[in-house]
Amino acid sequence: MLPEGVVQADFDNAIGELRDALSPNAVIVQDDARYTSYTDAYTPRQLEDNAPSAAVAPLDIEQIQRVLAIARKWKIPLWTVSTGRNFGYGGPAPRKAGCIVLDLKRMNRIIEVNEKHAYAVVEPGVTYQDLYRYLQARDLKLWSDPSAPAWGGVLGNLADRGVGYTPYGEHFTAQCGMQVVLADGTVVDTAMGTVPQARSKHLYKYGHGPWVDGIFTQSNFGIITQIGIWLMPEPPGYRPYLITFPEEDDIHPITEITRPLKINMLIPNAATTVGLIWEAAVKVTKAQYFDGQGVMPESARRKIAQDLEIGSWNFYGALYGPEPIMDNNWKVIEESFRQVKGARFYSAADRAGDAAFDYRAKLMRGIPNMTEFGLLNWLGPGSHIDFSPISPVTGDGALRQFHVMRDLCHRFGFDYIGEFLVGWRDMHHVLMLVFDRTDEDHKRQVRELFTALVAEAAREGYGEYRTHLDYMDAIAATYDWNDRALYRAHEAIKDALDPDGILSPGKQGIWPGRSRST
């Protein structure tokens, strides 16, 4: 496996120079036992389709600069990852086979936590678990906002515009201050950070002049090496709750009720409306309820709902603050959702010992955990890729999107396993496509389903907020208004900042000039 257009001798020279520039142990080649950790273990295709030629793991910015110089010299593309754990979207593997993975997980310093102003500054290798432990060990009254898996990287998740579940759930909104290394090795501090002896680097986002932080997210214009992120002060009170709804079409009234509550901040957090199977799969497997092939029948779904006391939809939210405020907000929330026939309300005490409630309650108060991986046991040897369109917070929009996605899933023989996360004015509809990775037919079917989902969503006017490696081009192609004006702008920036095209080619469908026709 070599990078495209690179001959073996040049590749060997580059590997030798990387070893000299960093250390032999920091360069992982294909016969190294560690190499497999840089492949896409959940791929719906074959491992080789996105396999890297090698990986290199610098310890600091100076080492990154050395790596960049060698990559420019030998025209070898790098694929940057922070912790590389985002397996629903491709894990650490590169978009294009043959890239060298630039693995930043050894850069794992928590540079600063400021309790007074409630922010942290971290390097790419810091996980949510690391940050949580740091805060706990020092008894700091601050919460981070983890992604569902604790091993996710704080910086990497933010840079990929991931979401969490506390009131700080939209991670990029909480970003303030960024350090980036450009392809030519220049180190850039953005916004206030570029003022000598900056005193407000992580307090005010924008600085003076154009605000560029956003162009380094979901992109390949530079390597983010440090990020400031606002943390949530620990509130005086916390009450998670669950409301279950019996019917699939209840997503309409749930969403209509949620919108004003969210916009007016009576629901302060990134509340989640979870479909039945996503909710159940943490606790039971499909084979316990259905031994046949294909989509689970309605009778089995009803049995699961009855056994586990869950709904077709399960709304997880939380109250934060002093007791009187929580009491008052709860009255409004309860009265609002009680309008939906069959709604049932649960507190933490009601669901004591419930694994699904427990992990949601942890996430909504910033405690990282790994429970959600358990739902891949739904199918035994389960893997997943995620399809994630954005929905308006309207009943009609959510219901329509749900019907379209569910019906397509069923047409291809897949159960609908999805959830809606409400943001400030949108919902992230995350559809988890769980497939049997030992079954080549099932892998083919999930690829076909995904392709159909992209096309159908585009026809309906929906775009995806993020995607798996294999579908970055397909989804980029749907952002095509005015003869791809947006992507032509992306390409102009790419050419200006990375003329050799060495940084993460193909990331989010942005290719360097020499690869644009492929």
């Binding site: 190294d32 560690r34 950790s37 273990a41 056994d307 358990g374 040897p381």
Partner: protein, 189 residues
């Protein structure tokens, strides 16, 4: 509500330290090879296996975070050379992804598929272990857990002879909560 199932899921997440006499003579093997055995706490089969193995057992709860952190500490500090697991596939995946970073390789994988009250076993990898376990399972299918525990010492050294074996269908014992278990070993180097 599924109270029994929920009770399983809430089994405490602890490192089980049982007396050596409770196990199948794993003690010296475990000490010498710096072995760690990983099991889920959620079904009878995995818990029975944990009991058979005595100490060196790391139990994975419904939230595997603590177990994974503990294992990673041991990988990083070279306290473990070999990990053997009987678990859900999701937990195998998590442990393996961490172990790979520390130059471990998988040298055995067994799939134990439970459907309609019966298990089938597909074993692949480490030749001596697969032969021994496969033969034992065919001879006495009801005791596959015991056979697996008794065969662990065969993993004390690598065996590059790759074997694959698919056994007949075996009656399951005591399982009602899972459909699909995997056994696996990861070896440093």
């Amino acid at each position: 509500m599924a109270a029994t199932r929920r009770a399983f899921l809430q089994s405490s997440l602890i490192v089980m330290s049982l007396p050596l006499s409770a196990g199948p003579k794993l003690g010296s093997f475990g000490e010498e090879r710096r072995l760690r055995v990983v099991t889920d706490t959620v079904c009878d089969d995995t818990r029975r296996f944990a009991t058979m193995c005595g100490r060196h057992v790391e139990a994975i709860d419904v939230d595997p975070s603590r177990c994974l952190s503990s294992l990673e500490d041991d990988f990083r500090t070279h306290r473990i050379d070999l990990v053997f697991g009987l678990s859900f596939d999701s937990n195998r995946f998590l442990v393996e992804q961490i172990a790979l970073q520390y130059a471990f390789r998988r040298d055995y994988l067994g799939i134990h598929d439970f459907r309609s009250g019966r298990f089938s076993h597909r074993l692949e990898g480490h030749g001596r272990f697969v032969d021994a376990l496969g033969d034992a399972v065919e001879t006495n299918p009801a005791s596959w857990i015991e056979a697996m525990a008794a065969s662990l010492s065969l993993l004390s050294s690598p065996d590059s002879t790759e074997k694959a074996q698919l056994t007949g269908v075996a009656p399951a014992q005591g399982t009602g909560s899972t459909a699909y278990l995997v056994s696996w070993s990861l070896r440093r180097g």
